[in-house]
Symmetry: C2
Subunit: 504 residues, 2 copies
């Protein structure tokens, strides 16, 4: 295999974590900020979040969910209401202790106006939203209550990694309350299905749906359901979670209603969320050694037009042609919004490569020769950087939507192929250890993949794979059939395979 | 005048501040939270913010502005970079000093993990965005840089008032950098004009555009431009501001570029913002003693259909008719989005009043008699609660958009009439004092209104009206012609009238 020079250095197989950082940098998606663990999401990256938000928000509202907004600060006593919950979040939260800065005699500014009770910047809002719910709900007629909030949250992060693990991130958190256990469970799974729709059909990432084991559950939840996706380094990334909270938070927050039989009952609640982490998943699922690859359905822009002007007299006809084409393309609809077109009229070399690195689905070069033929010269991001072709302008306009659909499909299929190639059923402990202990790939941090293996259900076996191999149970997949087998660690009886992997 | 019973108690003229709180409560817009000074924005209120955001966001993007996201935390040293700025914001900020909560021996949770440098929860983001800009800008080719962020901000508030003054609020903050002074000033005014468009044409609130005096400027700005609106208690409310920052923040944040002449120059910057305060303005500009009145162009919903079912056999035909009408209405477009329809099928008394209090523009009752005539019985929120009329269903569907436009226009005209009725040119100091010292209206907190009076330009005269009357200069209106006169306080020469008022 000849080594071709690529736009991103290092390549994926050379140093995957560093490749990831470089893809983000070269595509201008985001950057680290001087505030420890916090990121700046730049316009090209924020547009992805806007698109994700718009798609999800529409899907939520169709199921009757309404948006609201709750305080960013949570009084310490609220967090303490649910024992597991505080345990889970107290270790990594931003604590506000003062409400002013005051100058000292030597001119420094120091915190002043100490608060009677410290406030925590929300790491998640079950407790503060629960307080409102306790006032909003009094009768079974007030239920179900279906609320969502788009906001920022903070979980202090010692080893930040842009989009994947940041001290502050953006997300949505849905919170619902129900009079009926079954209805609450249905809602939990309904929202998981909405996430699956988003991630598979819009982000082009195949996912495995399943339930988390007890040790991986959301602190305070009865059941946590998850979507697990495989990244190109074959590690798993959790792409969305939905929690059935039972009556734990309703008890903690006193969310009670009078039932049809006029009895006071605690409500059943759920919560569910996805975050800007999805952007990290999308980068790691699709991008290549030339940079970012954006799935057309959520791309920040779909097409870049690059007028090529070599002689001054070409400028006016080339620019007219370019703007005319842009107008035509912008009128077309794709995935519920108009096609977004960028015009890059910088007359510098390498601008084609800039857009390859930014992952735009389609690049179109327009020069005097193209105009003479009334054609355009196009490059697709799902093909090689030099695989370009000249097609008639009208043909391009008529097929651009189907080309975008084709790119979308190709990205999904590639990601699915990767997952299928690196997912294995394993039945022997030695094979399991070998699968997760790669030899020559050590340096590249590329590991075995997904292993479907039997597990007895005991926490200590889960701990063992974690301690020995840094491998965890990502989920108990819904799709796995019941079958008899023996635990990959302790050899005890098991009835179902679970999904083991290293994870982000 | 006969006293009619109204839905809100007290009435506006009885106790305006309490009326305001009651309108918010009865319309279910928002509520105070247990977190001091922070509010919970409920779905009916949040929908208004979503509509405002969508309208503004579209207008921003048309002018080339792109959205991004910056950290919620600002290191203390950043805030300190601009002297006036830190002075303005240090007194009222939330300070994060620790990054964890830890259990003590007696089981209490206390802040732990003290930060080396305290972080401030952003009160505004000039300094943290400036730090990014300093890295993003190096050449004149990188300018202009046109960035906006939708986010939450915190300014500690000792006397909170829902929507108007809250410790946390939602807003957008635009930040731009330019190579050219004139261009930066044009951008500052362009954004003020966009706010004017939003407030006048969508929120139906007439505004006076002008410049703030030095003492009312944004801390660190060279010029602050503002929109001032009159509320029904005749006080002024600032409905949006746009700041020309000169090179102050560019110097503080080191935003430099190489000019065409290859010289290192500081950029010229601007910032501009509107917040959830606009919802407070809208409530106080339009609502009446029966509750909220929503301008149709930003209403959370436009029409409520209320099926009236007195006999069981009516249920099916009435509900079918209602759903059919809803489907027809939802297909219609109004102000760039589809008409939003609520169906209220609760069979309880007083639901018409619930929707009056919630301010929905149109209420439609549908009973068996209406169906027999193929007509609907409609009530408009800009008319009296009992002024309802029966109109043919097809006529209603065909005219609903123009009815909404008419309501929108009526609300604007009413607010304009109020402002004109209570805006006076005043030339004598005694008249000025009398205008702002109402006698019998004292208790109701309803004051004189807007006074256009001459001012010499000296800070001490401004301070005098503030100390004596709690009256401030709201702005130096653009529309006021130059004319010679004498300062209303000191009698010195003046060349222009300025706008005096009590203010929120």
């Amino acid at each position: 295999m000849k080594t071709e020079k690529t736009a991103i250095s290092p390549k994926r197989h050379e140093d995957y974590p560093e490749w990831y950082q470089q893809v983000i940098k070269m595509s201008d998606l985001a950057e680290s900020s001087p505030v420890r663990g916090c990121m700046v999401i730049k316009p090209w990256g924020y547009a992805l979040w806007e698109n994700i938000r718009e798609i999800l928000d529409g899907m939520f509202k169709e199921t009757g969910v309404k948006n609201a907004y709750f305080p960013v600060f949570i009084p310490k006593r609220f967090l303490e209401k649910e024992a597991e919950h505080v345990e889970g979040f107290a270790k990594e939260c931003a604590v506000v202790t003062h409400h002013r800065l005051e100058a000292t005699e030597d001119g420094r500014l120091v915190p002043a106006g100490e608060l009677e009770e410290p406030l925590v910047v929300r790491p998640t809002s079950e407790t503060i939203i629960g307080e409102s719910f306790s006032r909003w709900v009094s009768s079974h007629r007030d239920l179900p209550l279906l609320i969502n909030q788009w906001c920022n949250v903070v979980r202090w992060e010692m080893r930040p990694r842009i989009f994947l693990r940041t001290s502050e991130f953006l997300w949505q958190e849905g919170h619902t309350a129900h009079a009926d256990r079954r209805e609450a469970m249905e809602r939990t799974l309904q929202m998981l299905n909405i996430y699956e729709d988003l991630v598979q059909n819009h982000l082009a990432i195949p996912v495995i749906k399943g339930e988390k084991t007890e040790s991986e559950r959301f602190p305070g939840a009865v059941n946590t359901f998850t979507l697990e996706a495989m990244m190109q380094d074959r590690k798993a990334l959790q792409a969305g979670t939905s929690h059935f909270l039972g009556r734990n938070f309703a008890r903690a927050s006193d969310i009670k209603y009078q039932s049809v039989k006029e009895k006071q009952e605690y409500a059943w609640t759920t919560s569910w969320g996805v975050s800007t982490r999805l952007i990290g998943a999308m980068i790691m699922a699709h991008s290549d050694d030339n940079g970012l690859i954006l799935p057309p359905m959520i791309a920040s822009a779909h097409v870049v037009l690059m007028p090529i002007i070599k002689k001054p007299e070409d400028k006016s006809p080339v620019m007219d042609y370019t703007h005319g084409l842009a107008q035509e393309l912008k009128k077309l609809e794709y995935n519920g919004r108009n096609i977004k077109v960028e015009i890059d009229d910088r007359q510098t070399g390498g601008k084609g490569w800039d857009w390859i690195k930014k992952g735009i689905p389609l690049r179109v070069e327009i020069g005097p020769r193209d105009i003479a033929k009334d054609s355009v010269f196009i490059g697709r991001r799902d093909k090689g950087p030099r695989e370009k072709e000249s097609i008639p302008r009208s043909g391009f306009v008529n097929t651009v939507v189907s080309i975008l659909n084709e790119i979308q499909k190709n990205l999904f299929n590639r990601a699915l192929q990767l997952r299928e190639d690196y997912t294995t059923q394993i039945d022997l402990r030695d094979d399991f250890y070998a699968f997760f202990t790669p030899k020559d790939l050590e340096k590249s941090e590329i590991h075995g993949g997904f292993a479907l293996a039997h597990w007895c259900g005991r926490h200590q076996c889960e701990e063992k794979t974690k301690d020995d191999l840094k491998v965890t149970i990502r989920c108990i997949p819904f799709a796995e059939e019941t079958e008899s087998g023996t635990c990959i660690i302790c050899n005890d009886k098991s009835t179902k395979r679970v999904l083991f992997a290293k994870a982000y």
